[in-house]
């Protein structure tokens, strides 16, 4: 078990594409860390560079205090679960789990005992003689996890660990993975493009865009206080309302409505300044009666989210969304008043969060 440290890590592909641009990142010992971002943001390249499957163009990868930048993948004392699990089809489950030990020249009896022990822990006892082709997706994933666990590596890397499972199984596997990581206490970095997955599983996460890390923080921080409009728009199952605003005295003028300056930005704004006002639909209080400091408009769309509804208001041509608990949903065409929570509303100047 060990911390992972990246110092000024840069990866430029032949042809000049800069996949990673001088990244600094520290994942402390035992942390469950998520790399999140849209396709092509460099998150997988970053994971593969930590693994040594890609060679860094510049900077250093330090695992457990040892600089492994120039070390082959096999010498880094890490283990990885691939997106397709990469189980060898011609070996049974037991041989697959024991494979890394076989390469390390662990005697046959010892490595199969280890495989049986790890397999039993993941509920694979009945499947040890099967081939990967005879297993379901969820079972294959557990075999891949067992193979990683059997190595007793210092750190684990997971590449999109849940993306090959169907939606129902994904939720179960999410809980299972988090519990397992907590029990093992091994530093684990995983890559995902699904913000809900990152929020649910990670202790801390990094949100990436075009080879840069845009924010590092706990899921709560990233969700509640996105550091910039990119993160604000990327995180959350319903996109954050990002509305153009102008400072007018001690209020903000947003889509023709007057809103109080959010608590986080008090005293940091100048008169007449053009900003972006951000508030999550979940942090809006909807009312059918007129309220002061609300965004006012007609209800144009209603979306059922299960236990709540997503209401879209047309506020002077700007679409604003608010989440309304079940039983309080308005009718289409009705006039609605959405009040942002003052302690959750945020203000962005040039795309960056305005904060003390």
């Amino acid at each position: 078990m060990a911390a992972i440290e990246l110092r000024g890590l840069t990866k430029v592909y032949p042809g000049g594409v800069k996949a990673l641009d001088s990244l600094d990142l520290t994942v402390p010992d035992g942390e469950f860390f998520a790399l999140l971002g849209p396709s092509g943001c460099g998150k997988t390249t970053l994971l593969r560079t930590i693994a040594g499957l890609e060679t860094a163009t510049g900077g250093a990868v330090v695992i457990g205090g040892r600089d492994v930048t120039g070390v082959q993948p096999g010498g880094r004392d890490i283990a990885m679960v691939f997106q397709d699990y990469a189980l060898f089809p011609h070996m049974d489950v037991s041989d697959n789990i024991a494979y890394p030990l076989r390469i390390k020249k662990v005697p046959k009896a010892a490595r199969h005992a280890k495989a049986a022990e790890v397999g039993a822990r993941l509920g694979l006892e009945q499947l040890m003689d099967r081939r990967p082709g005879q297993l379901s997706g969820g079972q294959q994933q557990r075999v891949a996890l067992a193979r990683v666990m059997a190595t007793q590596a210092q750190a684990f890397l997971f590449d999109e660990p849940l993306s090959n499972l169907d939606a129902r199984l994904r939720l179960e596997a999410r809980t299972f993975l988090k519990k397992l990581q907590r029990e093992l206490g091994v530093t684990t970095v995983f890559v995902t493009h699904d913000q809900a997955e990152a929020l649910a599983m990670a202790d801390r996460m990094a949100v990436m865009e075009a080879g840069h890390i845009r924010q590092i923080g706990t899921p709560a921080e990233v969700f509640q206080r996105p550091a910039n409009t990119f993160v604000a728009a990327f995180i959350g199952s319903t996109p954050m309302n990002l509305l153009d605003a102008v400072v007018r005295g001690d209020t903000l003028e947003v889509a023709g409505c007057k809103l109080p300056v959010p608590a986080s930005a008090e005293g940091l704004l100048t008169e007449g300044e053009k900003l972006v006002y951000g508030v999550r639909p979940e942090y809006m209080t909807y009312s059918a009666q007129p309220v002061d400091g609300s965004l006012t408009g007609g209800v144009v769309i209603l979306e059922n989210l299960g236990a709540s509804h997503l209401v879209t208001l047309d506020v002077a041509g700007v679409l604003v969304q608010a989440v309304v608990p079940e039983g309080h949903e308005p009718a289409l065409g009705e006039q609605g008043y959405a009040v942002p929570r003052g302690d959750r509303a945020l203000v962005y100047r040039d795309g960056e969060l305005v904060t003390a």
């Binding site: 082959q72 993948p73 096999g74 990469a86 060898f88």
Partner: protein
Amino acid sequence: MAQVTSPPKPAEVVSPAPARRYSSDAAGLGRLRAGAFVAPALALIAVFLVFPALWVIYLGLTNYRLTGAAAAEPQFVGLDNFVKAVTDPEFWDSTWLTFQFVLGSAVIGQVVLGFTLAWMLKDRRGTLKSVVEGLVILAWILPSAVVSFLWVALLDRDAGTLNALLGIPGFAWLLDHPMLSIIIFNTWRGTAFSMMLYGAALGNVPPSHLESARLAGASGWQQLRDVVFPHIRGHILTNLLLISLWTFNDFSPFLLTAGGPDGKSEVLAVHVYKVALQNGDLGYGAAISTVILLINLVVAVFYLRLLRSKK
């Protein structure tokens, strides 16, 4: 039954068209018309493959000769030709030489060289790959007559290019090392097929499997053993089957050495040619051909068994 809490709006009921009964007759032609479509192909196969094969078996049972009295009125001699073949040391010498030729040039030469080239060029792009592939394929597609002339010129005793390069004029490659010469010649000639086949096969090995092995610390050889070979096992066996049979029946060594000197490179294909056409003993030649056919069958069955056996 699912509970319907909100019935759908009633829609027009469209009764499905009566399902067409699907039989094994997918095209719906019927036996007669289907047979008519296949007939021309079957006729060609019968005339040019089945009939000659049966004719060879029949000839093998006669004393048919190219010229003379036995050419006009061949006599039925039963299994005499076959007995003569299996008791003739020349026949067994040729079989042994053919075995060396197949093992050396096909199984070891073409497969090993072809795979090595494909493996080394796997992740490469650009000029080097194009040049190597181009050269290898060129050796494969050139006409035999051109190729054998080139090799005769290369290996010639007095004015040969190779001797000039090595600075050993007068060294008679084709006389002193006839088997080695034709083995290297055929390896050079036929590697392209194996290289292309393995190139395609290696493209099917999932990169994540190789990376998984690398992360476990597997060496290059361990990656080949544990990931690559199990994945391309079927390709390897198919490749071996094809090139073994092709090489077994290959006549081109004749163009280089004419079977000589003193029968030292007289593989079976050359042996049959000499017996049947140079000595004019068609009946005996046909009998040897039948034996070759049987050996080919055994080789094919052996590989197909391996291919079908569980991994």
